[in-house]
């Protein structure tokens, strides 16, 4: 158990270190995030104002917090659906993954989580900085939401990596998975609350979103960090995240076991 934890830590660190070598890409990502952030400011602020300054519990300051926190997490939570696993199945490099005395799911997820944690530094924090300094946003004044919020962010990032891994195992059967990836990108963004907070959804769509793991990836960490949900409510959200974490881990585990039997790596 201790050895496993140590290996996991090492893999997370390797992902973190790898990601840290792509500094220019991180800057590019930040610029894109910020641009879309200002676009969201224009649209969602107008919406709140049109509703008379308050909309489903959001005013301009809390909406700003939602926008800049969610934009900041965009570089870390996998809502694009690209998976290292499918690429490695396609190229045959997955051979190397199976050669290691490691759980393949664990190693993929751990290094993606590491890379995502790094992205919080050049993309997450500056985005929140823009929100605080340039636009102004509501922030909780007790330490609790920040602490639980950070835990929730880590859970959300891990969940994203697990979901994309599980979907990525389709590569064992399909090889070409670009269609699935595009579908994931559209659906996950919407249901995770990237475009608008899921609190603004019509009741039926909200119920549908809550029956998927996507809000746990982005919306719930943002709700906790911004203090929109607090106390017992925030613990409940973390509980929901853990539930999805367990479920998607199991799904990925069994899909890997089944997919391995389908694996065909010819040549090389």
């Amino acid at each position: 158990m201790r050895a496993n934890l140590q290996i996991t830590r090492r893999l997370v660190w390797s992902g973190f270190r790898q990601q840290s070598t792509y500094r220019l890409a991180a800057l590019g990502g930040l610029v894109a995030n910020a641009t879309f952030g200002f676009l969201k400011v224009a649209i969602l602020f107008a919406t709140v104002r049109a509703a008379g300054g308050e909309l489903n519990g959001y005013d301009v300051a809390t909406m700003s917090a939602y926008i800049w926190l969610s934009q900041g997490l965009l570089g870390s939570v996998n809502l694009h659906g690209r998976s290292e696993l499918t690429e490695r199945i396609k190229s045959g490099d997955v051979t190397i993954d199976f050669l290691r005395p490691l759980n393949v799911q664990l190693s993929h997820v751990a290094s993606e989580v590491g890379a995502s944690l790094f992205a919080l530094i050049p993309r997450g924090l500056p985005s929140i900085g823009i929100g605080v300094v340039v636009v102004g946003m509501a922030m909780p004044d007790s330490p609790w939401p920040y602490l639980l919020g950070f835990l929730s962010v880590v859970l959300g990032i891990t969940l994203g990596a697990l979901v994309v891994y599980a979907i990525g195992t389709s590569g064992f059967w399909l090889i070409e998975t670009r269609g699935i990836q595009s579908l994931y990108m559209v659906v996950s963004g919407l249901l995770a609350g990237l475009f608008v907070p899921i609190g603004l959804f019509p009741t039926w769509l909200l119920a549908f979103a809550e029956a998927t793991p996507f809000p746990s990836m982005l919306m719930y960490p943002v709700d906790i960090l911004s203090g929109r949900v607090s106390g017992v409510g925030s613990l409940r959200l973390v509980g929901v995240q853990c539930f999805w974490l367990g479920l998607t881990w199991l799904a990925g585990h069994f899909l890997t076991a089944a997919g391995r039997r389908k694996l065909e790596v010819q040549g090389g």
Binding site: I7, S14, Y22, D93, T95, F98, R100, E264, G268
Partner: protein
């Protein structure tokens, strides 16, 4: 002593997508039965597409056999993959197991922790490998900036870091220059002497086989076509080397050099070609014998082409 590798009727088929929805089956490995004992050094050769890599992937539990059984290090590869991975080191010449963006030494550290090496063992083994393969100069360089020769040495080290009982090298010298090849071969010979490692090697380079292996398995269209010693292989196919000499002045054909067969001359005898059996005559002896008869200005040795060897094995086994 129980064998370290044992296969029984090992078979693997792949589905091939043909035109439209038509699918055909390709048998990459066909009813393969062989055993390898601990400490042996075995060359596993065959033409492209003969099924070499597929066999190796089944030995390591990466691919699931369609039929037959395989046991590696006394384990069932597919079921005991993780356990087996601690005892086998594999280099696939075409794929990297290093962390592309990180310094070489960082990859070694990650692998050491994956293999749960104790700190002292990690340090000693890393130092040994860095020393033997002369990697000290580029340990801090990111893998993506290494030359091919440097990277191959790092790959081999990565596969051997956990001191595996069984080392499988799939095309380890592909694309390497003569010097890098030589260095890698010397290292592998040393490594076997020191640790008694079992070695299985696929290659397109006859030189690798001659310098590293005692036994050869030849596979053709997924089937075993030859299993025996290097000497036996030479006898079976008459694998001969060719000595090409450039002479100082035009010379009549030197047909009387002992132990060689005169193959032909060019430019009025300025360049002559001799075949000789490496088992009976060294290249130096052949050269000396030629030098007694004419002044040699330049020379080269042509090694038998592995594709050619396989073709001849196949022809002689019919």
């Amino acid at each position: 002593m129980s064998p370290i590798i044992e296969t029984q009727g090992l078979t693997r088929e792949f589905a091939l997508r043909g035109r439209g929805l038509r699918r055909t089956r390709l048998t990459a490995v066909d009813d393969l039965t062989f055993t390898i004992d601990p400490g042996e050094a075995v060359g596993y050769i065959g033409a492209n597409g003969a099924g070499k890599s597929t066999t190796i992937k089944m030995l390591c539990g990466i691919l699931v056999p369609t039929n037959g059984t395989v046991s590696t290090c006394g384990l069932r590869p597919v079921e005991d993959r993780v356990k087996l991975a601690r005892r086998v080191g594999v280099v696939f010449g075409q794929r990297s197991q290093l962390w592309w963006d990180l310094p070489v030494e960082e990859s070694f550290r990650i692998l050491a922790s994956i293999h749960r090496l104790p700190k002292t063992q990690e340090k000693a083994r890393t130092e040994e490998l860095v020393d033997c393969l002369e990697m000290a100069d580029y340990l801090a360089t990111p893998v993506r900036q290494l030359s091919l020769g440097q990277r191959m040495r790092a790959e081999v080290s990565a596969a051997l870091l956990h001191s595996p009982d069984l080392v499988i090298l799939d095309e380890p010298t592909i694309g390497l220059d003569v010097l890098s090849k030589q260095r890698l071969r010397e290292f592998l010979v040393d490594e076997r002497e020191r640790h008694g490692t079992t070695l299985m090697l696929t290659t397109h380079d006859m030189g690798d086989i001659e310098r590293l292996c005692e036994r050869v398995l030849v596979v053709d269209h997924g089937r075993l076509a030859f299993d025996g010693t290097i000497g036996g292989l030479s006898r079976t196919v008459g694998a001969q080397r060719v000595l090409v000499v450039d002479l100082a002045e035009p010379t009549p054909d030197l047909v009387d050099v002992p132990g060689t067969t005169h193959l032909g001359s060019e430019s009025r005898g300025l360049q002559q070609r001799f075949a000789f059996d490496a088992e009976q005559l060294t290249a130096a002896q052949a050269l000396a014998a030629v030098s007694q008869r004419a002044e040699v200005r330049d020379l080269s040795i042509e090694e038998p082409d592995i594709e050619d060897v396989v073709r001849r094995v196949y022809a002689s086994s019919r």
